[in-house]
Amino acid sequence: MSDKTNPPEGPEEDEPRVLAAEYALGLLPNDERVAFEARMAEDQALRDEVAAWDATFAELIDDVEEVPPSPQLRKRLEARLFGARRPSIWQQVWPYALGGIAAAVVLWFAATSGVLVTDDEAVRADLVAELAATPDGEGLDLRANVDTTRGAVQILRSAGDPPEGRVFELWLIAGNNAPVSLGLLDGDGDTVIDLPQDLLASLPGAVLAISDEPPGGSPTGAPTGAVRAAGPLTAS
């Protein structure tokens, strides 16, 4: 078969189909690809055409030899998605945060310790968070009430204790910022912690998390133990 016997490149009805095939193969130059995607967004038939090419080409994969990936890969993947024994706080907290928490670890810590107050002054909550137990925190039942007028957070713990010789520490994770310690939870019952003034604006949508730490709290200013519970702050 010589070139001359090939169908001519031309009548207009062929054009979108060829573009769809070139698109599926990833062959289109950038400007043409962008233009094609704009067309595709408006045109169901074109999207179907691309899907049909994808399905057709995918049949070629039958010729590709199957190769098992290394067993470690599955572990790395599960650690990344579900949290492993010692995952970073980001990995532990992301399912609880609705916003995107970047995977990048920021290496600075605004270690602003909250002041522990033991008085029982009533907290009028305008932000609340249900702190859902992580797999490491089974049995924990925690709720946070934040009174932004007064600048205080109250943690209500109805069930669950830290492991022997450990304490619970409360962290604030606002957007992509590093976790900021808000203070330690009392040994039992409820805890009220005053919030630094400069953090109040970042509270809505931020995530509160509880980790277990050595007595006296994290020695590094960042969580060192497992995250036991976490949840986003929402308007009450």
Binding site: M1, S2, D3, N6, P7, E9, D14, R17, V18, A21, E22, L25, G26, L27, P29, R47, D48, A51, D54, A55, T56, F57, A58, E59, L60, I61, D62, D63, V64, E65, E66, V67, P68, P69, S70, L73, R74, R76, L77, E78, R80, L81, F82
Partner: protein, 180 residues
């Protein structure tokens, strides 16, 4: 239940956040998808990176593929192949040379290829076999190895516009054959 149905059922459960189903889906499909990554990237470490990204996407987007009319395996293969090709291009890997003897315009399927074709029920292979062998080879390179037009021009020493014309004609012929 066919393997296709099983994968479909597993993806549906993954969409609901079922970790056990995710693990099962990984066990069923990772060797095939890793083979795809390796074919494109020819580098285990890079291929594993891409495979990991693919499964993260599967976990996060398992509920979206049907909307676009994909079968479950086509969806998995397409994500994997496209990610691997993106990675290969980012790495700027030079293409494997293509023997110009393979590009003789009158290349016909050899007896061996014909025998294979006769027993191969896949429409794509039947239709590729209707193309001159060299043209079919370029299509396979574009899909299976992720060669761009520039890669194919470099690999063959043929002018880029000529390569594109050849490919487009091959795709039109393929389309015609596939719709018969």
């Amino acid at each position: 239940m066919t393997p296709q149905e099983e994968v479909e059922r597993l993806i549906a459960r993954v969409a609901m956040g079922d970790r056990a189903a995710f693990t099962k889906l990984y066990d069923r499909t990772s060797a095939k998808l890793f083979g795809v990554c390796l074919r494109v990237l020819n580098d285990r470490a890079e291929a594993e990176e891409v495979l990991q990204e693919v499964f993260v996407t599967v976990w996060n987007k398992a509920d979206t593929y049907r909307v676009n009319g994909y079968s479950p395996m086509t969806w998995l293969i397409t994500i994997t192949r496209n990610r691997a090709v993106d990675r290969r291009r980012a790495l700027k890997r030079p293409p494997e040379p293509i023997d110009t003897a393979d590009l003789l315009p009158d290349g016909k399927p050899g007896p061996e290829a014909s025998a294979v074709a006769a027993s191969d029920a896949r429409r794509i292979t039947q239709c590729l076999d209707e193309l001159p062998r060299a043209r079919a080879h370029l299509v396979r390179r574009a899909y299976l190895d992720g060669d761009s037009y520039a890669d194919l021009a470099e690999a063959t020493g043929v002018n880029l516009n000529t390569i594109r014309t050849w490919l487009r004609r091959s795709l039109i012929a393929l389309r015609e054959c596939l719709s018969r």
